[in-house]
Amino acid sequence: MSGPALNLFEALRHDEMINCMRCGFCLTACPTYKLSGHEPKSPRGRIALARAAAEGLLSLEDIMAPLDQCIGCRACETACPAGVHYGEILEATRATIVQQKDQSWSERLIRKVGLRWIMGTPFGIRLGGWGLWLWQVSGLSWLARKTGLVKAVAGQALADMEAALPRVPGPVKRYMGGGPGHLFPAQGPRKARVGYFTGCVQEMVFWEENRDAIRLLQAAGCEVYIVPGQGCCGAVHSHTGEEQTAHEQARRNIAAFEHAEIDYVVNAAGGCGAALREYRLWLSRDPGWAERAERFSRNIRDVSEILLEFGPIPFGPRPGRVTFQDSCHMRNVQKLVSQPRQLLGMVPSLDFREIGNADSCCGAGGVYNLLQPETANLLGADKATRVKAIEATSLVVANPPCELHLRASLMRSGLDKEGVEVIHLVTLLRQSMDAAASATREKIDR
């Protein structure tokens, strides 16, 4: 470790750590503790380790591995009787470690190009989408997969992820479908004007899902504006210890949305929504921004909340057995548990079964599945086993990293070949809405 000397007490949030009374109630909520049975892989253990580092009893190097093994699902916060802000401690500790650690050239490169340039700027996100499309249509993806190049260069975890990518739309389709600055009118009388938050991975990889969400919002009576100038929510930066870049994203997004004259900021990605809601915490020590962040965070809504508030949308039959895997940050941070289930309950002929541990993380954790593939894949495999056991044909998700990771997990267990799909909540609902519309058309035709 090198880097500037700093006050570890403050940097690691010692004042927050001592709120932990070590009761251990978090243990049974923690996916990595449940898997390992080892205290250093539990929230109580990690707080104790960070605290020992802050007090100079351990070095940052000592605690790096146990902290890295945390997925950051924050299920522990829902189990904690003392209301400890575990996420705050985790991210502050990670940021401090990143600052102090000597990074290899490859890590520096990934952090600079991947996190700061591509995900960290609105133009980078667009470029990323186009690049991905080019990679797929040019046959490079096919070639690299056939020759095992991705695996050789980037490792199995990234190769699995690459194979799990859906076909992404090209620049023309993206342009025609409405990009930044586009205004989608409300269907029927306008009930609200919402600003849509597109996200980075969501917009690059799952562009169509964003359009599904927008169509649903329109049907619910919302005028939807893709606010220009927005970028990534910053969650991926915050989780990987890039605190400054994360805060840059927050400031950019607040500035972009605050003059758009909208009632709500709406998103369809559980993790992004959680980050947007936490801007008020991120920027609470920033005098110029604290108040603006507070106002911005108050107006964040998940698409499911808006659909329930302004609906109902006419839904048509969408048969099949369906299960739902919560997005951890949607459930544990945004505290949205019943909303997606209520919506699924409105779809006629849909056979819903709980997966059995929907409150426990799938292992995606933003980029956790790339950094800690062993743990991530064990958790993903458990989800696949459960999907098979309840004989579901659709695994519904509400967050892009979960979607990618679960697609890869189902592929590893061969379930994709048996016709099991991973599908975003908004896509399923849009299919159901389309079914209702075509039924109405048929009636009129007759």
């Binding site: 009761c23 251990g24 049975g37």
Partner: protein
């Protein structure tokens, strides 16, 4: 690191932890203020492995601290003098549920709530429900003789342990009790091991008694403007031959904290709240709860809420369920004590705790199990404030003294461990301490099992890393 190698040979390499971070994560339990590093953490998977570990430890005079989920509140699983942290959570199988004999036989690492759920699904009932049951292990419950909310009617862990398998420090295996409801063969070693806090033997198998699941359950909540009528109500309920399965109390400070935290609709100017629940056959439950609510009114309760449906019952239970969460958020450090008095002295004790809070300028809120006199005076403080901690210690010394003078005890359910060592002689006397020391020597002549715990040893106490 020869001991690491030796232990790895017994349990396998991946089941021995010894890096600095690993050790730091096993330096504490749920007791505020105590931390001390073990030298190694070992996870045995069988009685044989425990035997081999203890044989090795005895030969090399290494302390062994048996540990479950470390949720105890008395410092019982802190490695005071280093040594082997013996974590038993890998031994987590339910070996048998015997419906004919109404027993369950489990390994020590089985989670308490999991066992309760498993037997419940068979129409059976394991009553002990310590506050940490979602996390705690049966082995830990037995070692600490854990209590819970159902103590009044159903008793505590001790009342359900019928038989044990335990490994002595010599490595020999001791089997006590069994599935017999009647068994007077020799000393009651089962009861002796229950609550022995890991100082006599390592428990490796537990046979517990089960009950048929009660048919129905119903709750009521009574709000009082003064302490005495609430205490009188508790006494009169029992006098009227009703033994509720839960009879919980919260004082004004707790009521205010709960209301501020959870907005469950409690009046913040009330002096006391009683939460009462009865289980059993539906007709008995209805009759009991109606009688209870009548007594509450007769004793001058301001308001009595009677649950008409199970959902309403759950709603009423919320107030009590949020007590710890609400209090824990008030200040960084939450010292949860368990002074206990005969239930007829409840009001006196609660009043005295209030006086001590004023005298020492502390925030102490009291809630607890009114039915069995087991109170939880909870001090909200900041462990970084040494001067405040000193006042906390003085206040609790007076509280324990008062509890004893009322015929009570220094600890109802949390155990002695490190936290109450200095007070043990007050309760059991010099003779009690002497007999206990001789028992300890008979079981563990090498003195390796959880050394420095329970029995008073003021000289040892200074070795503890006291934070704050």
């Amino acid at each position: 690191m020869t001991f690491v190698k030796a232990l790895q040979a017994i349990v396998g390499e991946q089941h021995v932890l010894y890096s600095p971070a690993d050790l730091a994560a096993y330096a504490y339990d749920a007791t505020p203020l105590y931390r001390s590093l073990p030298d190694v953490v070992v996870f045995p998977a069988s009685t044989e492995e425990v035997q081999a570990i203890l044989t090795y430890a005895t030969a090399h005079k290494i302390p062994v601290i048996p540990r479950g989920s470390a949720t105890n509140l008395s410092g019982g699983t802190v490695a005071l003098n280093g040594g082997i942290m013996l974590v038993l959570t890998r031994m987590n199988r339910i070996l048998e549920i015997d419906a004919a004999n109404l027993t369950a036989t489990v390994q020590p690492g089985v989670n308490t709530a999991l066992l309760a759920r498993e037997v419940d699904s068979l129409g059976l009932f394991y009553p002990p429900d310590p506050g940490s049951q979602a996390v705690s292990t049966i082995g830990g419950n037995v070692a600490e003789n854990a209590g819970g909310l159902r103590g009044l009617k159903y008793g505590v862990t001790r009342d359900y342990v019928m038989g044990l398998e335990a490994v002595l420090s010599s490595g020999e295996v001791l089997r006590t009790g069994g599935k017999n409801a009647k068994d007077v063969a020799g000393y009651d070693l089962t009861r002796l091991l229950v609550g022995s806090e890991g100082t006599l033997a390592v428990i490796t198998e537990v046979t517990v008694k089960l009950l048929p699941k009660p048919q129905a359950k119903r709750a009521c909540l009574a709000i009082f403007d003064a302490l005495e009528p609430a205490a009188r109500t508790v006494a009169r309920i029992i006098e009227n031959k009703v033994i509720p399965c839960t009879l919980e109390f919260m004082d004004r400070g707790t009521i205010q904290a709960v209301e501020e935290f959870a907005r469950v609709g409690l009046p913040t100017d009330a002096e006391a709240v009683l939460f009462i629940e009865q289980d059993g056959p539906q007709s008995v439950v209805d009759a009991d709860i109606e009688l209870v609510s009548r007594i509450c009114r007769e004793e001058g309760a301001r308001d009595v809420k009677l649950a008409e449906t199970p959902e309403e019952g759950t709603k009423l239970a919320e107030a009590r369920r949020f007590a710890l969460s609400a209090l824990a958020r008030l200040r960084p450090t939450c010292i949860l004590e368990d002074a206990t008095v005969p239930r007829s002295r409840l009001a006196e004790m609660v009043r005295f705790i209030g006086e001590m809070a004023v005298k020492y300028n502390l925030r102490i809120c009291t809630f607890g199990h009114a039915g069995d006199g087991n109170l939880h005076p909870t001090c909200l403080c900041d462990e970084r404030d040494h001067e405040e901690l000193e006042r906390v210690e003085q206040a609790f010394a007076e509280i324990f003294d008062k509890a004893l003078s009322l015929g009570g005890t220094i600890t109802g359910e949390h155990g002695v461990g490190l936290a109450k060592q200095d007070y043990l002689a007050w309760k059991i006397g010099e003779e009690g301490v002497a007999v206990s020391s001789r028992l300890k020597a008979a079981f563990d002549p090498a003195g390796i099992l959880n050394p420095g715990k329970m029995l008073p040893k003021a000289t040892r106490k200074r070795l503890v890393v006291k934070q704050g």
